[in-house]
């Protein structure tokens, strides 16, 4: 039973002492389900059905309105409704505590429902990447001839429209229409699809070396303009999932963003909402 998940090469081994953990629900997660040996996973996740943690870290880092994060030298604790998740500072092990209502609804003869899901998995990954030269971006992404392009942008900037116009181009493989991970692996920046699609529903578990960062905007015709690293950084930061609330890990993430814009060329991609943008990008990528 594939109860583990692997996103951007980060493996989460999930277990529960009370019984087998069922595969994570949701069509977008299908490609990201995995079966990992505990020693080969990056984050060991334990689902605890016996109660809640006895203590809470001393500092409240951020109250989002949906979840609240606490932290201290030992680790973090996230409170999301009835669910509490705690993890160590290195983000190598996590424990998820679920309340009585969760147990009543999600534990049955076949096994235990998967404890990870949005937003907990996204927040855990964000923290795991923070000290490992990686960052999660609000971006669409595609692969052309073995090279990744990412298209960061806010809601309404055109990621879904762009994705819808690229989907049928034979040389282009879409990876995501909403969230991409960028990681530095072996000295090279790679980009990966994630299980959190946008309205176009693109969630592909695949990555490629990152060839370009293309900030998108709507236009009457297609055009591409090179940006300086400084200009790229200005546009990248609002699209990056950065733990601004935690000064202990913030410098590492900002360093990664700085390295990224210094190493990978950035552009402004003005695109017309027609399938011609696929041919335009195809001719742009060597």
């Amino acid at each position: 039973m594939r109860s583990d998940i692997a996103i951007a090469g980060v493996g989460f081994h999930v277990r529960c002492d009370a019984g087998p953990v069922l595969p994570i629900a949701g069509a977008a997660y299908e490609q990201f389900a995995a079966s990992l040996a505990p020693e080969s996973s990056d984050v060991e996740v334990l689902l605890d059905l016996t109660g809640k943690p006895g203590t809470r870290p001393t500092g409240e880092l951020f109250d989002s309105g949906n979840w609240t994060l606490y932290g201290d030298e030992a680790g973090y604790q996230l409170e999301l409704g009835e669910t509490v998740a705690s993890w160590d500072r290195a983000v190598k092990s996590a424990t998820i505590y679920c309340g009585e209502e969760w147990r009543r609804e999600r534990v049955g003869p076949a096994g235990v429902a998967h404890p990870l899901g949005y937003p907990l998995d996204q927040l855990l990954l964000m923290h795991h990447l923070a000290s490992r030269q990686g960052v999660l971006l609000h971006a669409a992404g595609a692969e052309i001839r073995g090279q990744a392009l990412i298209f960061p942008g806010r809601s309404g900037s055109g990621k879904t429209t762009l994705s819808a116009n690229l989907v049928h181009h034979q040389a282009i493989r879409l990876l995501s229409d909403d969230r991409m991970v960028v990681r530095k692996l072996g000295g090279t920046f790679w980009s990966f699809g994630t299980p959190w699609p946008g309205d176009a529903g693109v969630a592909v578990n695949r990555g490629a070396p990152l060839a370009a960062i293309c900030f998108i905007s709507h236009a009457p015709r297609n055009g591409i303009t090179r940006l300086s690293p400084r200009a790229a950084a200005e546009r990248l930061l609002p699209a990056a999932s950065i733990p601004w609330y935690d000064p202990s890990i913030l410098p590492d993430v900002l360093d990664s963003c700085e390295e990224l814009v210094a190493a990978v060329p950035a552009y402004e991609l003005a695109f017309a909402p027609t399938p011609d943008v696929g041919a335009f990008l195809d001719s742009f990528v060597p």
Partner: protein, 63 residues
């Protein structure tokens, strides 16, 4: 060299360029796992796979 230029010059005679302060707007809802952005919402406008508060509340009401 004028006195003001002398005061601002780095060793070697190059004028000091004052850093420019730029304001960048950050929106937590866009990037910090707040709100439901999953596209698998059912017709009742909630997402059964989402752990966020608004979807959780809608799910509880419906069930």
């Amino acid at each position: 060299m004028e006195p003001q230029e002398k005061q601002n010059a780095e060793p070697g005679g190059r004028a000091y360029e004052k850093p420019t302060l730029r304001k960048i707007e950050l929106v937590a809802e866009e990037v910090l796992g707040i709100g439901c952005k999953l596209n698998t919402s059912d017709t009742r406008g909630r997402n059964k796979y989402c752990g966020n508060a608004s979807c959780n509340a809608a799910n509880s009401t419906a069930s």
